[in-house]
Symmetry: C2
């Protein structure tokens, strides 16, 4: 089986071909410039690849409501040329195959549930903590869309008592993304997170915010696993600190073994590593093919 | 069609018979005493009623994982005699019909989606704000269980700047339930909410907390409707104040018409009124019957 996958990120696009076992056989990438230029490269890449389906996991916000007139478009984004761009339609008219279409984070959650660390589970929540914070939700065997799609990066955490940074989300100031995404760390401490020592107080503060986000996730969605990915999570000291925050916050209230005694296997790193995004898109393509009865 | 419904509340049990249109034909209720005494009354009520299925929506926390050994039991509760009680099993062995089994709030969410204000929608979130705060989640045509079930009453809101009440949740102190359920209002102000005037500052504070909870719900779950029920919501001045808080919190970020221009039809009161709980249980019974192919 040959399935096409498009991982559309805010900085770069990755296109690849994979099979039904989640194995990526080849890939290319190029910068996320103006959409016309990007689409030209996407179409030219897949032109003679003979794929049976294509899955797209993309930066957003996007329209994922099949009943909407603007289904398949990027909605509002500051990225030049992309606001309102009919992404799905542009690719679709070139290839007569089933298409999967979802957010990059929903794709990553799904990829982890199909081939990654959440393999076989019927729910998981995927966070990416990088230049922004995104949340993908897979629940009861379904990717959650609803009204738009989850935007959990913008929930409102309690301020750390020693934190005087005002927050840098243009919409909400001190929301989760405004306090805990990579640019917030850099602005608060005057240098990039990757340049701060592992004992720097930045990390206790970061764990405080991300611990609240995971706590909220558990209480609102009750997922069977929470996966934390993205550039900020390359700081390996963070994961155990976040688990400790979650245990402290829940204080034994949710009586489930994974939270009481197995939290190291419950709040985890992505199983697919750097392939999470592309594998997720591949999984969306495969699901689209299966829905079409092939 | 004759379907049995059990609404198991912390204070009282309601049993009833209804049909496939959500019409309750008869009902009785009795206090939630020791489980043996309650079960006797439940079983005696349904004995000669010839129901084709029974749906149970119950106070929790409960075990709703069909793969678990304790499926159908109440888990940990301070209510005398109920901790670990095999609720579902006790009723099931008396009646050879399909059973529906879920939390009271999931039942209410589902009832509203089948016959109530969210009729026809594939997602909605139901809050009850009373002696406690519970959250039921219906998403992508599924009731959300996951690891346990949502426990959204215990998320951690930001403290209102003028609020000095320490909170009264035994697990978390100043979590949502500890700050905004009925007993918190009474303890903070020294009298019951129902005795406070509609202009009392208690309500702005209450709206501040519930507005955060609804904002978090929208960002994490993206439901197509949020329904606010329970005794505290009988204060009719609250609903518009909560909507205003949500709009202020989101600040236009989630670009969807129901949030931008139609919030009065998006954050709403239950459509089934006082029947929400029993109708929800009825809907669970009907769904169980349908799953059994009848």
């Amino acid at each position: 089986m040959r399935i096409g996958a498009i991982e559309a990120g805010g900085t770069k696009f990755v296109c690849g071909i994979g099979n039904e076992n989640g194995v990526i056989e080849e890939r290319i990438s190029f910068p996320t410039e103006q959409p016309e230029r990007v689409m030209e490269q996407v179409i030219s890449y897949f032109k003679d690849k003979n794929v049976e389906a294509i899955g797209i996991g993309t930066f957003g916000p996007i329209d994922i409501d099949p009943a909407s007139e603007t289904y398949g478009s990027v909605t509002t984004t500051p990225k030049p040329g992309w606001s309102g761009f009919p992404f799905l339609e542009t690719v679709k008219k070139e290839f007569d195959v089933p298409f999967g279409w979802d957010t990059d984070v929903n794709a990553a959650a799904y990829g982890e549930a199909v081939w990654g660390v959440a393999r076989g589970l019927d729910s998981c929540v995927y966070f990416t903590i990088g230049t922004g914070i995104g949340v993908g939700v897979y629940s009861e065997h379904k990717l959650v869309h609803g009204l738009v799609h989850p935007e959990g990066g913008h929930i409102l955490p309690r301020r750390h008592p020693e934190d005087h940074f005002e927050g840098n989300c243009p919409y909400h100031g001190d929301c989760l993304e405004g306090m805990a995404a990579g640019p917030a760390i850099e602005k608060r401490w005057g240098m990039k997170g990757s340049e701060l020592g592992i004992d720097h107080p930045a990390w206790a503060m970061e764990a405080y915010y991300l611990g609240q986000a995971v706590t909220t996730t558990i209480l609102m969605l009750s997922p069977k696993m929470v996966i934390l990915g993205g550039g900020v999570m390359h700081q390996k000291q963070l994961l155990p600190m976040i688990r400790a925050e979650v245990r402290k916050n829940l204080n034994g209230y949710v009586s489930a073994a994974p939270l009481l005694t197995g939290i190291d296997d419950y709040i985890v790193s992505p199983g697919l590593g750097d392939n999470a995004g592309l594998c997720g898109s591949l999984a969306l393509g495969l699901a689209a093919l299966e829905r079409n009865g092939k």
